[in-house]
Symmetry: C2
Subunit: 417 residues, 2 copies
């Protein structure tokens, strides 16, 4: 007699990376002992730097001594970590008080939807990281699933080579929640300062909110490209930013992130978003692990930051090698992001996923898993060992770079320009 939440029932398909894991498992059962090259899920492969590991070991030791033991932490996270993030990541443009420590961006994306009325329209870059859609569905902001995995009621804003991967927001209703992910997962493209300025301007004019995911900001190599939405004048009145230590320092399994909710942000009724976020997180969450937070503090100290730069450089060199190998094909991303976004000869990205898995034992991510406009692409992750990148480069060349394909792509590109 206990009624199911109809919103959960709408989640027709499994979460993308869960589905990929299932297919990997099926192959390994069919061909036991096969070694797969994993360029699928964007999961870090390089070890966590020594100063950060040591900080976490020390944090564990402190918990083992009567004098230094601590239990529940500070509400919204360690103040020292919040201060560090404010200084190092935001150049003090947001205050520590506006920074809320989380157990990762994905978890905060889920909680964050509870800030908003079920009537608030949601808009997504298409393709984009599927957790935004999942959180919108589960919080009752959409209709049912449609063919192709999209949801009724969500505004999908195509981001394709044709429009330079910039969402066209002109048709969005006022009061929309627009998710922006830059550097983008999966396309690896970055919104320029001009593009982002226009989006902030639009949000201010149309009283929309921007939910800006900067989980990959540390990969940006140019000072010209904004690493945070708060680099844009006026963003504090319209934007929440969510970010993470996962990709910058290898914390995908350690779990640590943060969200910025500026004091200046207000709902339609004039009430404070910060206050509601404080209520929500105090009620539904209980801080990130104190050991992870100690690691986060070390990651933002001088030695940690130097190690981080090396880690990022390593993954970006992986991306460069993959780009080079595939160079006769048009290929997006990979310069300021750990992802390459590759157009396919066949339109079915799950088919290409299967081909690469079966023939080359390479796991990729089918583009359609990121939204309808992702069909016809695959995402290739640069999170891998150097030797896997070399092997994968050769195999991908062999399978994807057949002469005929290169011609087809060249023709397509010429039509575009």
């Amino acid at each position: 007699m206990v009624e199911r939440n109809a919103d959960v029932a709408k989640m027709g398909r499994n979460y993308l990376f869960h589905e990929i894991a299932k297919r990997k498992k099926a192959l390994l059962e069919k061909e036991p002992g096969t070694r797969l090259i994993n360029l699928g899920i964007g999961d870090t492969t390089e070890p966590i730097p020594p100063s950060v590991v040591e900080a976490m070991r020390e944090a564990a030791s402190r918990l083992g001594s009567k004098k230094t033991y601590t239990g529940y932490g500070e509400t919204h996270g360690k103040w020292l970590l919040r201060e560090k993030i404010s200084e190092v990541i935001y150049n003090s443009k947001v205050s520590p008080d506006e920074i809320f420590i989380s157990d990762g961006a994905k978890c905060d994306v889920g909680r964050m939807q509870l800030l908003f009325s079920r009537n608030v329209p949601v808009a997504l870059q298409d393709p984009v990281y599927p957790a935004y859609m999942g959180a919108s569905v589960l919080s009752g902001k959409t209709g049912g699933a449609q063919d192709g995995g999209s949801y009724e009621g969500i505004h999908y804003l195509p981001c394709t080579p044709e429009n330079g991967f910039t969402p066209d927001v002109t048709t969005l209703p006022p009061g929309t929640l627009l998710y922006l992910c830059s550097p983008n997962n999966p396309t690896g493209t970055v919104l320029t300062r001009d593009q982002l300025t226009r989006l902030v301007h639009f949000a201010r004019e149309n009283r929309c909110f921007l939910l800006f995911d900067s989980a990959y900001a540390a990969f940006i190599q140019s000072e010209e490209l904004p690493r945070s939405i708060y680099e844009i004048e006026g963003a504090q009145e319209v934007a929440i930013e969510t970010s993470s230590f996962s990709k910058r320092i290898g914390f995908t399994g350690v779990r640590l992130g943060w969200s910025v909710v500026p004091h200046k942000l207000t709902f339609a009724d004039g009430s404070s978003v910060w206050k509601d976020w404080s209520t929500l997180t105090s009620t539904l969450f209980n801080e990130a692990s104190n050991i992870a937070q100690a690691g986060g503090i070390a990651a933002l100290e001088k030695e940690g930051l130097a190690s981080q730069r090396k880690l990022i450089a390593f993954y970006l060199e992986n991306a460069r090698l993959l780009r080079e190998a595939l160079s006769p094909l048009p290929c997006y991303g990979g310069e300021h992001a750990p992802f390459l976004w590759l157009p396919l000869r066949s339109k079915s990205s799950w088919e290409t996923f299967e081909t690469l898995l079966e023939k080359a034992k390479i796991v990729t991510t089918p583009g359609v898993g990121f939204g309808p406009s992702g069909e016809g692409f695959i995402r290739i992750s640069a999170f891998a060992s150097r030797s896997d990148i070399h092997k994968a480069s050769t195999l991908l060349q062999h399978i994807l770079l057949q002469k005929a394909d290169v011609e087809v792509f060249k023709n397509r590109e010429q039509q575009r320009t």
Copy 2:
């Protein structure tokens, strides 16, 4: 123009422990340098045992080496940890596949409400841990806040000395979600096997679900008292259990817990609760920290379990000392739980909270913070150092054990019996 979630607006007051923290802070600002004795929030004070600390240090080290580094973990938590919990805690009565690792019971309580339709009625033991109410309000299952901090639409089931702290469920509508916390926070009382059997029977007859919180189960000292709802025949068709490493091994800041969702549990439409929980947690959560999980595994090994027994014995001895000091007064709990539940001469528990804070510098928790029937009581936590317990015992005796009070209580007790 972006609309606020009206359910968040209903959360009129701050989360209880947040409010207490504010009052503590106010006192410390007024009287700087004051050393407070904290018997308020149920926060562990003893260090984490060596074998568990060492396991976490090693886990951190493994993340620092290329050969042993791991990123994202296994969906729903490390299989080895799920196996250990199945064996050690549940005597294999639930399968590892039915155990989902979390970052703590509070966080799972929050996510769990999303399983159910907004129309599902919610019933709470009164008084009880406030997170259940918070999660129910935030997921749209209640009306607005009423005087005294209760919410319209929630069925508050008084658990008082008069009814032996057992909820009367006879008036609940079919299809209700009934939260049960045993050993109970805040009263420290435990539902007996008979009482729990009757509740399971009721749930089966009336197709209700029981959300059973066993976070304090490790404190139960008698084999006669059930440590898990699954010790009761037929519970797997009607109950979810949520639990935690926080109190059993000092993990309040490390963050690790689990929930059990049996395969046999189905919604009104016959669909699987397990499946929806799998979807929800895959979409909105991303595993507990791998370092915390390594600690959890060690906690369930032989050495860890021996240390756990010592920790529990230490806190229960604290509780015994407090009970002894207050012995002329009726006092509940503290035998199979780290909390004492003390009736007050004045009805206002916030007033007594303030008196104890001002005069004795002791932080307690006002009973009314746990629900309307908590008024007239305070909760005293036994999580403290032995020396603080001795000091607090003397101070509490001095303030609470005035001769007149004892007489009043004796008369009340006589009227009861």
